[in-house]
Amino acid sequence: MVPAARGGSSPAAMRHLLSVNDLGSEGLKEMMRIADFFVEISTRPIPKVPALRGKTVACAFFEGSTRTRLSFEAAAKRLSADIMSFGASGSSMSKGESLKDTVTTIESLGADVIVVRHASAGVASQVASWVSIPVVNAGDGWHEHPTQALLDCYTIRQALGAESFQGLKVVMVGDLMHSRVARSNVLALSAMGARVNLVAPRTLWPVSLDGWPVEGITCDLDPLLEKADLVYLLRLQTERGAGRLLPSLREYAAMYQLTARRAAMMPKDSLIMHPGPVNRGVEMSSEVAEMPGALVGSQVANGVVVRMAVLYQLLVGGEGVGVLDPTAPDVAPAPAALRSAGVHHGAPGPSDTSSDSTPSTRSTPRTPSTRRSAGA
């Protein structure tokens, strides 16, 4: 048996973000608490803090992307990092340079972290084995897209107003076999306590459910809708409708599109999500996309803050996540940077990064706990 989920390490110990399993449930929660701090920053007239001033974030997007790339770049800019941007076309990759040479060059140029997107599964892991700086997986083939799962969890947490998704019934619909979003979200949602069911035509099922911590998988969407607290629709690459795996997009839409009729079968206040961009008329109808429970817009907006949290955590988080907490002992230089930007902090304390902070006693929502996860 393949283990359902690899145990996550404490984010303070996290070296790379390659898979949702690098975070685990504690890591996911902690990362979301860090993101809470950046929400406030993002609403300022000048949404910028010097937390990563002097650091360089390399965005190596070997595969085309609009929202993920812009979102990472915006996150880096709001943290005052320099950005080194890279796309495969027009680079020496098209002259036949090997992937290893390309990424080691990026490291040599002074990058402090590499954000990697690639059409081939495993590239982020391969890059991590070749460089000595942290690597963020921004999507690798059919494998994983951990920051998408993180932003989706953040969006759900916002909508629910709850730290845990215990008992949340999620129905994920669509191209499960070829979806990195599905894989990362199944891992993340189940780690957060949700109960996930999968729906797809048989040809788009994962080869095996080993490593997919789900309740079940079926070809029949409608019976699941009446108990679904959240329906997560996956994007269908339209070329899948070309006849090899699906007879037609029309047939797919007839069986799996979330229409107003199907949405009406769901409980009141249920949520609808989609990683975008939506193929209206395929995964969901236009009227469903406009419904109040559809969170597509907030998913995009939350992308920036969770990616700020990821970059912050990987570049300065090793000094302790407590640094972002107003009640935690002061730790230089990151908190100083945040403080100077107006982030509230408590009284400075001794800068002892090795000692555990005392548990937070505050009850206000959106406040990170100072308790670090054990067993770093």
Binding site: M1, H118, A121, V207, S208
Partner: protein, 472 residues
């Protein structure tokens, strides 16, 4: 060439095991027995504690010459072979240009002058290995080619393969197949199963191999052909061969050292040195391959030595070249993994957990450094092989399949050609790819602690390897 006296070793060949000295004069064995006296000027090698066996024969080596000499050439590849205890290799025809004509066979025969061991050439079944028209099998056979394959791919067109088998049967040569249905394996980068699902890599299903094995066995029955099935990797394939042979089909089968040693679980590292075709399979498949060796359904271990330069491997996994080096590690892997002489693990690290039959175990998170999974086998049917059984599948069986029986694999008796391998079955060593004689380094076994080390290799009476060092 001086006479060579191998003193004090244990001679193991198809006739049995016995303590005896072996005297080599010229290109032949001149005497075998206890207390042989060294002729004047003879090279006397003390091989006390070592096994003295017929040289190993590899049915499946890619030496890349001509066309890809940056990866390997006849000289470096056969040096690697000699260091691995081989005295003969069959080179595959997927060179550039491919070996699909009499003139290419002649060109290859000219390269024999650079070879340290006996080099037999396999010819292509179809012109350009394109699977469209028969290559001049008869002309190539008249130059001594006895085995034909489009290795790298199977012949997809069943009608054409049937014709090839019938034609080959008329001439008395063997058709060898790389069994993989291209439409079923399309795009596959690893074994299709739980691990491909976890890793998000497109899978090549076991059935892609098995449908072609089944088709080829059925065709061989119709054509009355001699069929050799290369690098079988699945339990289903072994089962098909077992049943067809019981039914009288003239089929032989080989497996590779890596398919006997590793499972698809190792791919969690995305290490491109683990990318090969056919891919690493499940634990249950490994059990079946081992059981096939035990009960004789599998005739041979063949390396599928497939050198690639670093730039073909330092790329995304899906784009990485298929193949793994084999010649310099095959005997030690076989002895370690099959004969139970050692654990077979990365040096300095504790052995991993034992895997359950048919299910790979996970020893830890994929982010851990020690993730290469050695398969240690758990099938009750499996048992350790004796050293002689290992030699059977690495020396005399492959010699017979490649029709090299006149010079290779025969018992060590006076008058026999002196193709001899001397190894210490209990000596352990750590695989260091930087020290390979091969021009390439693409092995997943770097750092592995293996038991069984080749000491001397004698080819046609010439000591080409002495004390583990190539002599030319």
């Amino acid at each position: 060439m001086p006479d060579v006296l191998l003193r004090g070793g244990c001679v193991v060949d198809a006739n049995g095991d016995r303590l005896a000295d072996v005297l080599v004069r010229g290109s032949e064995v001149s005497a075998v027995g206890k207390g042989l006296l060294a002729p004047q000027g003879a090279l006397v090698l003390d091989v006390d504690g070592c096994t003295v066996s017929p040289g190993l024969v590899d049915l499946h080596a890619h030496l890349r010459e001509p066309g890809a000499e940056e990866s390997e050439c006849v000289e470096t590849g056969t040096r690697a072979a000699a260091l691995g205890g081989y005295t003969a290799v069959v080179v595959m025809p997927n060179t550039d240009p491919p070996i699909d004509s009499a003139s290419m066979v002649r060109e290859m025969h000219e390269l024999r002058s650079k070879s340290l061991v006996e080099m037999a050439v396999a010819g292509a079944i179809t012109v350009g290995r394109r699977g469209e028209a028969l290559a001049p099998i008869g002309e190539m056979a008249s130059l001594g080619v006895t085995i034909f394959t489009d290795d790298g791919a199977g012949v997809q067109d069943g009608g054409l393969l049937r014709a090839a088998m019938e034609y080959a049967t008329g001439i008395g040569v063997t058709i060898a197949e790389h069994c993989e249905d291209a439409s079923l394996a399309a795009g596959g980068a690893m074994h299709e199963g739980g691990w491909s699902s976890v890793l998000g890599l497109p899978g090549a299903p076991a059935v892609a191999e098995e449908v072609m094995v089944a088709r080829d066995l059925a065709l061989a029955r119709v054509a009355g052909a001699r069929l050799h099935l290369m690098h079988l990797s699945t339990a289903g394939s072994i089962d098909l061969v077992r049943r067809a042979r019981a039914d009288g089909v003239q089929a032989t089968a080989e497996v590779s050292p890596h398919h006997l040693s590793l499972t698809d679980e190792a791919l969690v590292s995305y290490d491109t040195n683990l990318k090969m075709s056919p891919p690493l399979r499940s634990g249950g498949d490994v059990d079946a391959l081992r059981a096939g060796l035990v009960d004789g359904v599998v005739d041979a271990i063949a390396t599928d030595h497939a050198p690639h330069p670093a730039e073909s491997k330092e790329v995304p996994f899906i784009d990485a070249a298929n193949g793994v080096l084999g010649l310099e590690t095959a005997l030690a892997l076989a002895l370690t993994m099959l004969a139970g002489t050692g654990a077979g693990r990365r040096a300095g690290r504790p052995p991993g957990r034992r895997s359950g039959a048919g299910a790979p175990a996970c020893d830890g998170p994929p982010s851990s450094a020690d993730r290469l999974t050695t398969y240690r086998g758990a099938a009750p049917a499996s048992r350790a092989l004796s050293i002689r059984e290992v030699l059977a599948v690495m020396s005399w069986n492959p010699a017979r399949i490649a029709s090299l029986g006149n010079t290779q694999g025969g018992p060590i008796v006076p008058g026999a050609p002196a193709n001899i391998c001397v190894f210490d079955a209990s000596s352990s060593w750590v695989v260091d790819p930087a020290r390979f004689a091969s021009r390439s380094r693409n092995t997943p076994f770097g750092g592995w602690d293996l038991t069984g080390k080749v000491v001397h290799t004698i080819c046609a009476g010439e000591p080409v390897v002495l004390y583990g060092e190539a002599q030319r």
